[in-house]
Amino acid sequence: MLELRDITAGYEPRTPVVRGVSLTVAAGEAVGLLGPSGCGKSTLARVAALLHRPDGGTVTLDGETVTGWRHRAPRRQRTAYGVLFQQPRLSADPRLRLGELIAEPLRAGGRRAEIADRVGELAPVVGLTDELLRRRPHEVSDGQLQRACLARALVLRPRWLICDEMTAMLDASTTAALVAVVESYRRESGAGLLAVGHDRTLLARWCDRTVRWADLTGAPAARAEAPADR
């Protein structure tokens, strides 16, 4: 269970982007979070992925309250996540070949011995050939790079996937292909998913349930619940 409770988060003091938002993703569940751009849904996704420390509220990961974010989170928590962002170019080190990019989480975790096997196993799943694995990001298309980023997100076999607008830059066929990869991984691993996006048709098709940002923040019911807990 991934539980976000009464989260307030932002980038400047006193002007939070996210105010008192609660959201729960059950193990193995796929939840879509739908909202317009600039509403704060990406910030919430970053909090959920332990990439941004909230100013208030609690995150509970598999029954354990999270106390540290980013590098301060214990490795077993950090490695429980696979994260995908909208722009693969901004989330890929331009110096690494795609094969190295996919292997990076294993390398960083001191599990070099597993690299060859795991990369060899994942590349065909996401549709990358050996030839593509030897290229650097500037030599591949956005779609191919996002395929590598998806393989990187799956390389540690995460229990949770956070996909923040994973397909916004991609064409219809690549979108369908990457979503199919995520879903087949989830079927075999039982991982939970938080998919953030603005395409309601896509999220409705992809996820078990879709939550609208406005319902999380604006609806009186949601607001009334929070103070009652205090």
Binding site: P36, S37, G127, G143, M169, A177, H198, R200, W206
Partner: protein, 376 residues
Amino acid sequence: MNAPADTGSPAAAAPPSGSPAPVLSVRGLSVRFVMRGGRRIAAVSDAAFDLAPGECLALVGESGCGKSVLAAALLGLLPGNARTAGSARLNAAGGTAGPDAGDGGTIELLTASEQELARTVRGRRIGLVPQSPAAHLTPVRTVRAQLEETVRELTGVRRSGARADAERAADRAAFPLDHLDRYPHQLSGGLAQRAATALALVGDAPLLLADEPTTGLDRDLVERTVDELRRHTDDGRALLMITHDLAAAERIADRVAVMYAGRIVELADAPAFFGTPGPRHPYARGLLDALPERAFRPIPGMPPELGALPDGCAFAARCDRATAACEALPVPADGVACHHPVGAPPAAPGGPTPAEATEPTGAQRSEEDGRRARTA
């Protein structure tokens, strides 16, 4: 203005009778990049289409299929290692008798000099709506300063005249006048898009070229942006919209050109393409079937490298209709370049594929949402 799908063969250059003379006529346009070691990348091969005033042609296809290279070729913005062939003629605006003797005539974009392109084409006869408005605008100057500069540069109007013209241009693009003194970073994505559109409209160019105008925008903004582009098309401009967003293309396009591995494989009227009978090229059909509102089924495999295209049909390796005939390059006929187009004599296996998924309610609903989010 929905001209019958052009055959794409260079011989069929004559515009369809009855419709206004095309603003842009592209025939046999090819672009090759010569790489180190003499390797050649076939970015665009043998593209052919016409674009009439008041018409919107959507050029769709996967990323990396050569769409943006085609746009760059039309504007003379290709890098130095590019080699072009074929022709892209920009004609004087329709019936209106040549405005200025200097730039009213037909110009061949592929062979025009840089000076000619800079002085008479860019901004004046072709307006570019860029992919990333935030990157297109100068970050250290206000929107007003940039608009006025463009007005001065394109029309020669100065001082208070430039100010008024700049405001008029902003107004035409629905850019709020009280935001004119803001810097690009102070604008939301939608407003930055409108600022960039305003710049593209200043020169009153008869042809607008929109290169992925909606990438990364959310659905409501996409709809507003393309609706605005459509409005400018309805004012009598021709619009070439390059996009991978099929929903955006469906919303505003009169005709659709599908590009695959550098070739236009299908050129069809938008209602027939998105509705019934649907696309006829198997790739185009696969692309539509990949949409989440349809089958949500990806096309198997990946597009070929533009540096190592097969001799025959580039889609054959991914195509379930491929046969030995596909080892030869299909010649475009009746708007589709395929040996086994869907709906052609060899009956489609399994009958017509679901093409009825285009319910109008979706469009209506999103239009409402677009209005609701007008203040974003």
